[in-house]
């Protein structure tokens, strides 16, 4: 750095030179700060999404870098939310990247005092077996008056309001075909 540059770099002169007279903006930014870039600026892609909390349906922009979600912000294009998110929607990056998130299958055997690990494929096989056994054991063809029932009262399900329409659709379709009618979600609560 030349003497002249050093001289002009003095804070008071820098304030005057940049027009930042109160020294609260450009004039006092350090190189370290200047070199920083928002995560949103360096993302590989921005994916359009919808907030998963309440039913207002605010638009979200999901910023992705190297296959990871790095930030979630309000989508200014949305006519409903116009770029805004509430504290929950703003925190939804943590919903995705929470360190306490459980990402492997766990199994608790009857009377066991702790979890044990289980493979996803094996777990799904076991659940399919349980459904078939319970359905067989609890099947009701007809009621006491001989009226048609064609169902099982041995299986119940709760959930759906936090799920996609397509997921609710497959659930209802499969449950109905297996004869499970005790299917409910938060709309009842």
């Amino acid at each position: 750095m030349t003497d002249r540059a050093a001289f002009l770099g003095w804070p008071a002169l820098r304030q005057l030179a940049t027009g930042d007279y109160l020294g609260r903006g450009q004039a006092v930014v350090s190189k370290k700060t200047r070199d920083k870039l928002a995560r949103t600026a360096t993302a590989d892609k921005v994916v359009k999404s919808v907030c998963p909390y309440c039913a207002v349906g605010c638009g979200q922009n999901i910023f992705v870098k190297d296959g990871k979600v790095v930030q979630i912000e309000g989508d200014p294009d949305s006519p409903v939310s116009r770029g805004r998110l509430c504290p929950k929607g703003s925190a939804s990056e943590q919903l995705v990247n929470s360190p306490t998130r459980q990402t492997t299958v766990l199994y608790r055997a009857p009377y066991a005092t702790d979890w044990s690990p289980l493979g996803l494929e094996e777990a799904t096989d076991m659940i399919a077996d349980r459904v078939i056994e319970t359905r067989r054991r609890t099947w009701q063809d007809k009621d006491e008056n001989g009226q048609f029932l064609r169902r099982t009262m041995g299986i119940a399900s709760l959930g759906g309001a936090a799920l996609d329409n397509e997921e609710n659709y497959l659930m209802k379709k499969l449950y109905t075909a297996m004869g499970a009618i005790q299917v409910e979600n938060q709309a009842r609560i």
């Binding site: 999404s49 207002v56 992705v64 997921e167």
Partner: protein, 904 residues
């Protein structure tokens, strides 16, 4: 709303709040629970609108309202009934709208008797069953020599309706009528006409009663009624907004009905800035009713068949709608047959009634609380939980956990190890010793779920709008979408049953269950949505996506998984993916997402024009008749047959959409009109009537009948009810508790208490009490309190605040206590934990929709922390014993009249 207007969805879109002249928010803390939607309230205020907040608590919604009116929880029908009385008495309703668009002029059966005549019950009440026979509520027929207009199909008793939670069944269409040739008195003077019945029914709902029963001053009531009247009519509109503060009561559906009646009287339905805004709390709770994971419904609000009543397809269809009634619900046969074709494909043929027999039958009320009692009784063996945490989020949490402890197997799919996954080792009952881990036989599978950023699909938000969320990243580890889980589970079940000759397995084996999968095995959500939209199966267009529900046929030539969503995939374009920026389209924003039905944003919008088809005023113009082109035009998709002229009158004997007159704006109603009086569709009365909550500190000031005589009660030793006013022991649980949400948490906490940001913002469970109550009970701000109900005892930090207002009711001071319900005990990895407010609540349900009464319950409050271990169980038992509460307390639905009379 379904019984009043013909559809169960919010009538307006969120942005339309900005167009209102007066917004009445009741049963909702919108600023805190729907903060981003609240920007439109701010917008309305900036445009000069008046905002009134009616709520037991002063909240951030009250803080920015023009006025906050505190109300005793559960007394809303009195307040709204008094407004109805006021506008009828002073003649300040919108007469031209009422005469043309509502059923005010229709004549009701001579057999109908009102609650005013029968001491608080309507005609048709059966004291043996505690349910109504709806026959006497019928319209009088103008067909010569014919009896009153019955329901389509065989008459159905109220008990059977309650069994099927029939209220939810009017999500997409009103109640059926045999036909629409109804006797009318256009002058609305006949004493048997709806308007006159309405006047008599609400005559005793006076401002004085509002003061004495709701705790609202005469001045506040006058402000409210003047605001409503001044902001309704040709030039101006008033809007109501509500949330679960209205639904979670033993007569919750009637709370909403009262607002619907008021909005029809004031001419505020179908118009910009009017209507009723339902503020729902889950990303796709509307979608989970439209495509229902609900026991009593099939997709598109078609009912699930009932044993004995719907034995054949013909019987079923005759009860859903009558071919002789008005409107689009007459095509229910096409909607059902197309659903059966979507599910069972080529196996569904005319000669086997399109596999109608593959549908399981109901024969009772199979709601989630009934299932929990089934778990305790041992009849329910297996339970799936999908993004839901009943150990914390459902009423009477202890009952929920005791139920799960008696299952054979439990599958929990969630992001985190929520309390409903871990109760067997760290739940409250392990701490009290009621349950011991090594004696619990429940086999549990925890499967991690993918979140919204990790999968494609649609949510249906609160205004019926489907919005696609695009997958951003792959889910981690074993986490999968529920789409993937159910698809794979279905395939595995089908593989195991392949070759079975058992007829019970045919519905599984014949099921259409073949969706394209990506390289990770994820099924294609687009393909599923396209199946929901539906396709042509034969003819020139075979294989193409349907343009909308109007194209559906009952002959098996079309398939559609949910008729009300038909149109979302018209022309092979997934319209839920529409994301045209706000700035590039009109204020109605039709090119953002897709709203059912047929992308209409304000429902019943034909009513935004006068009977001649002209806008009521330039200021409120929305949809109108264009003489030049002979079509309805405007800012939105008209919610009316496009070319039916305002002057059109159908000939007698016409039915279906062609029977809709040019001034019948409620096209899903059997008579085309908005229902002030509901001759069908509500099972606990054709008009909302005030009853006290299951647990109440006061006697019903209007009728000897204390509680809703048709409510659903669950007498069980683990679900005791506190004695109400006038019953011995009522002073043991002397205070009213009400529950609510915070901005920083989400329901039972699974999506918020595991997040550090949100947990830091709201770390601890607390209760809000008034300074007066704090002084009375020695409660200290920031200290601890123990709350005791007949179900449980919990501890909370105390927040002493003037936001809670003691109310003077019947000369006595009534204290209300507020509690957020987001915390739970146990769970692994939660950043914050705490006792659960829902453990205090009992299970008593609204008969129309089977929703529990969460907003009013009786409790005691004492300073200090709750006892630990077995001592906690003893505390609860001691209170129960002192109050004398037994399984019959509060549950004697039919005999309480006489006893109460004697006590008066």
């Amino acid at each position: 709303m379904g019984a009043s207007f013909g559809r169960g969805g919010a009538t307006q879109f969120v942005q339309d709040i900005a167009n209102t002249d007066c917004l009445i928010i009741q049963g909702s803390n919108m600023a805190e629970c729907h903060p981003v939607a609240f920007q439109w309230v701010t917008e309305a205020k900036l445009r000069g609108a008046r905002v009134i907040h009616i709520d037991p608590r002063f909240t951030r919604t009250s803080a920015v309202a023009d006025k906050h009116i505190p109300i005793r929880a559960g007394s809303d029908v009195i307040l709204l009934g008094a407004l109805i009385n006021q506008v009828l008495r002073t003649g300040s309703y919108f007469e031209e709208y009422v005469a043309a668009y509502t059923n005010a002029s229709m004549i009701v059966s001579d057999d109908y008797q009102d609650t005013e005549d029968l001491s608080g019950v309507f005609s048709g009440y059966d004291p043996e069953t505690g349910q109504y026979d709806l026959t006497s509520w019928a319209y009088r027929s103008r067909k010569p020599g014919e009896d009153d207009i019955g329901e389509a199909g065989p008459e159905e008793h109220g008990a059977a309706k309650a069994a099927s939670a029939a209220g939810h069944a009017h999500g997409a269409a009103g109640a059926p009528l045999d036909h629409a040739l109804i006797e009318r008195d256009p002058t609305m003077q006949d004493p048997r006409c709806v308007l006159q019945i309405l006047k008599r029914h609400y005559a005793r709902y006076t401002p004085d009663l509002v003061t004495s029963a709701c705790g609202i001053s005469a001045a506040d009531f006058a402000y409210l009624s003047e605001s409503l009247v001044a902001n309704s009519g040709r030039e101006r509109t008033t809007m109501f907004a509500y949330a679960v503060g209205w639904t979670q009561h033993s007569l919750g559906a009637q709370f909403i009905r009262t607002a619907a009646i008021l909005q029809l009287l004031m001419g505020n339905v179908g118009r910009p800035g009017g209507g009723i805004m339902a503020l729902r709390g889950h990303a796709s709770i509307q979608g989970a009713s439209d495509i229902p994971t609900l026991f009593n419904l099939l997709p598109g609000y078609l009912p699930m068949p009932t044993a004995g009543k719907d034995e054949t397809l013909a019987q079923f269809l005759s009860a859903v709608s009558s071919p002789r009634q008005k409107g689009f619900w007459t095509h229910a046969d096409a909607y059902l047959v197309s659903l059966l074709k979507a599910w069972w494909g080529d196996a569904a043929q005319p000669e086997n009634d399109f596999c109608y027999d593959y549908l399981p039958r109901m024969n009772g009320n199979h709601n989630t609380y009934q299932s929990v009692l089934g778990m305790i009784a041992g009849t329910v063996e297996g339970y799936f939980l999908l993004g839901q945490n009943p150990a914390v989020g459902s009423a009477n949490g202890r009952l929920q956990r005791l139920g799960m402890a008696n299952l054979k197997w439990l599958v929990v799919r969630d992001f985190n190890l929520i309390e409903s996954a871990t109760w067997w080792k760290d739940g409250p009952e392990i701490a009290t010793g009621e349950l011991e881990t090594d004696k619990i036989g429940t086999e549990i599978f925890f499967l991690p779920a993918a979140n919204h950023a990790e999968k494609d699909g649609t949510f249906t938000q609160t205004q019926r709008m489907l919005q696609w969320h695009f997958k951003a990243v792959e889910p981690p580890g074993d986490a999968r979408s529920d789409l993937s889980f159910y698809y794979v589970l279905g395939k595995k079940i089908r593989e195991r049953l392949a070759g079975s000759t058992d007829p019970r397995d045919r519905p599984l084996l014949d099921l259409t269950w073949d969706y394209p999968q990506d390289e990770h095995g994820e099924p294609d959500a687009d393909a599923v949505l396209r199946e929901i939209n539906g396709t042509y199966l034969s003819g020139e267009q075979a294989g193409q996506a349907l343009p909308g529900f109007g194209a559906l046929k009952a002959d098996g030539s079309t398939a559609s998984g949910c008729w009300i969503y038909s149109g979302v995939y018209a022309d092979e374009v997934n319209a839920s993916k529409n994301k045209l920026p706000d700035a590039q389209q009109s204020w109605v924003a039709p090119n953002w997402g897709w709203a059912w039905p047929m992308n209409r944003r304000i429902l019943y919008n034909r009513a935004s024009a006068d009977p001649q088809g002209r806008p009521w005023s330039e200021r409120k113009a929305y949809v109108w008749w264009d003489e030049q082109t002979g079509r309805w035009v405007g800012h939105d998709v008209p919610d009316f047959p496009l070319t039916t002229a305002p002057s059109y009158r159908p000939a007698d004997g016409t039915s279906g959409p062609e029977a809709l007159a040019g001034d019948d704006p409620f096209i899903m109603q059997a008579d085309g009109k908005g229902w002030l009086f509901a001759p069908r569709g509500m099972i606990d009365g054709p008009l909302p009537t005030h009853y006290e909550a299951q647990e109440s500190p006061i006697g019903n000031p209007l009728y000897p009948q204390q509680r809703n005589p048709a409510r659903l009660v669950y007498p069980h030793k683990d679900n005791l009810t506190a004695p109400s006013f006038g019953e011995p022991g009522a002073d043991v649980y002397p205070f009213v508790a009400t529950t609510y949400r915070l901005t920083e948490h989400h329901t039972a906490g699974a999506m918020s208490r595991w997040l550090p940001y949100l947990s830091e913002l709201q770390p601890e469970f607390f209760c809000e009490v008034s300074p007066e109550l704090a002084a009375e009970r020695g409660l200290v701000n920031g200290g601890w309190a123990t709350l005791i109900s007949p179900r449980s005892a919990i501890e909370a930090r105390v927040l002493v605040t003037e936001r809670m207002t003691p109310l003077i009711i019947g000369g006595r001071t009534i204290h209300q206590i507020g509690m957020p319900y987001h915390w739970g005990v146990g769970g692994t990895g939660a950043v914050v934990t705490g006792d659960s407010a829902n453990d205090l609540l009992g299970v008593t349900l609204d008969p129309n929709v089977s929703i529990q009464e969460s907003k009013v319950s009786s409790v005691d409050i004492q300073p200090g922390r709750r006892p630990r271990g077995e001592a906690l169980t003893r505390l609860v038992a001691d209170y129960q014993s002192r109050s004398g509460a037994t399984v019959v307390t509060g549950n004697d639905i039919v005999n309480e009249n006489d006893e109460r009379e004697e006590r008066r």
